[in-house]
Symmetry: C2
């Protein structure tokens, strides 16, 4: 019942220690310490080397550390095994905190007030009520729904766009190719919580920016992306921020991470940038989640939050 | 049935226009345009000249523009008439937006990330969960309760302190002189929504700062004040920010407004400052509120949200 923890660019120690702290009897190893690949039943992975998982002949379940699974589905040799996504209340809450913070930062013109503070300028700016600022959420999974619930409590009129049709109380739901244009046209602040798939790669481009509401109260549309960097065409976003087609943006994810020092995003106007920390989860909570699923699986119960590999999320 | 609109340092035009738009038949005037003081039944006021209201012999009700009424109770000649406070859902929502934004800004270390962005530094900082950050609210009126409800939804452990004992589900309630020390000792982020009275003037001083939790996750306590500037001993707050007894602060109100250019608050470390805009309400919404109360009063119904002048709020 060995668990292997393969986390590229990230020490596995805290995961190994965290799992041991909850279940001391279980064998938990890093790839380097693994002596018998055939003994491995479970893999906890983050960006494993392509082909690595195919070398574990008795593997039963793959746990993806993080909400997205594109780091796995990009492996052409990914074994045909259940892939469990981390759906953790702690991770969801952290993501919602970040999204609400960034939406309020733009809605309340905090960056303009920051500049005024810097210049010792005392001046009140016209403040629209939340009821006048239309928020649109791309991606209506667990994270999108929780962010929607939190934003709705402030009174923002909410819409969402998803690949397949959905119905949610209090949310104006759009879907598919045909639903994208009308969704964008009524959106002042776009919150992006999409998975990265072949369909969504580069979706945040100049065309999308030009489709957002132009007549909104914020002087232009705003994009808040905590999904995946690969959704972004970053040159397009920089150009739109520079020429005012975008009034602002908050980005937590980037095509290349860490963001290279040469990127023009660092100093783009009215852009708030955080280093992929929107939903850095507490390892203790994730360890409890993974062991809980393993124990249920060993009792013969179904796994939760399985990835649909044909959809890629 | 004349209404006089006396708003010091603030043009009465939008109020007069706003009231006329709803009730064109009613006589609404600025003090300069008032020909007969005896014709005035209602006064909408913000910081009226001391003694001004005493010169209106048939005045029936005083409406205070803004949540606080210290600008009225400081008038020694204030007539013994009902004083109605503005309690407007729009104003409450705006205040809660500002409070949640500022609490999340500190909780999510946004200012540290801002500095990293400026320096093109990619580095994740240890992020505590909301369940580990104790928020305390001073003042449990309409505004305090709504802020508490919103903050509770993020999972912050909440306590509140008020003058008189209160009980609210999900909030650890402290009250009075004896309750202050234990309330402060368990508080990492202090949200201040107190009225300004003889009892609360200068309450945010060095002694209060030193009473806040020292062992919290944020590296020190944080103060968020949207109550009244007169609650603050500003030299004490600047000193505490400079020597690290306070890890941060967000202030929307100041002893002297506009804040003088000479104030050291403009550039105090980890201080976010906004120019008394946390709950600038929409004049249209306030006009509806005031006329609704006047119409109810003229039908013989009781006035809502009356100020208790012995308490001062």
């Amino acid at each position: 019942m060995t668990i292997v923890v393969a986390t590229a660019g990230w020490s596995p120690t805290e995961w190994i220690d965290g799992l041991h702290a909850i279940d001391p009897a279980r064998d938990v190893v890093a790839p380097e310490a693994m002596t018998d690949p055939a003994a491995v039943d479970y893999a906890l992975v983050w960006k494993p080397e392509p082909g690595y998982l195919a070398g574990l002949p008795n593997l039963k379940v793959i746990f993806s550390l993080g909400a997205g699974v594109d780091h796995l589905t990009s492996d052409p040799a990914l074994p045909d095994l259940p892939v469990v996504r981390i759906v953790d209340p702690d991770l969801t809450r952290r993501m919602t905190e970040w999204v609400v913070l960034q939406v309020l930062l733009h809605h309340r013109q905090q960056r303009a007030y920051d500049a005024q503070q810097q210049a010792k300028t005392w001046k009140s700016l016209r403040q629209w009520s939340a009821a006048e600022v239309r928020v649109g959420i791309m991606g209506l999974g667990v994270l999108g729904l929780d962010a929607a619930r939190a934003l709705a409590s402030f009174g923002f009129p909410l819409a969402a766009w998803s690949r397949s049709p959905k119905t949610e109380p209090g949310i104006d739901c759009y879907s598919g190719e045909a639903g994208l244009a009308p969704f964008l046209a009524r959106t002042d602040i776009l919150v992006v919580l999409l998975p990265l798939t072949d369909d969504t790669r580069g979706i945040l481009d100049a065309r999308l920016v030009d489709g957002l509401a132009k007549d909104g109260p914020l002087g232009g549309p705003v994009i808040v992306n905590a999904g995946r960097g690969g959704l972004q065409v970053e040159d397009d976003l920089v150009a739109a921020l520079n020429d005012g087609r975008l009034a602002g943006a908050s980005l937590d994810v980037f095509v290349t991470e860490p963001l290279p020092a040469t990127s023009p995003l660092w100093h783009a106007p009215n852009l708030t940038l955080t280093p992929h920390v929107a939903a850095e989860s507490d390892p203790r909570a994730l360890c409890r989640y993974v062991l809980g699923q393993i124990q249920a699986f060993e009792r013969g119960e179904p796994l939760q939050n399985l990835v649909d590999r044909t959809r890629g999320y």
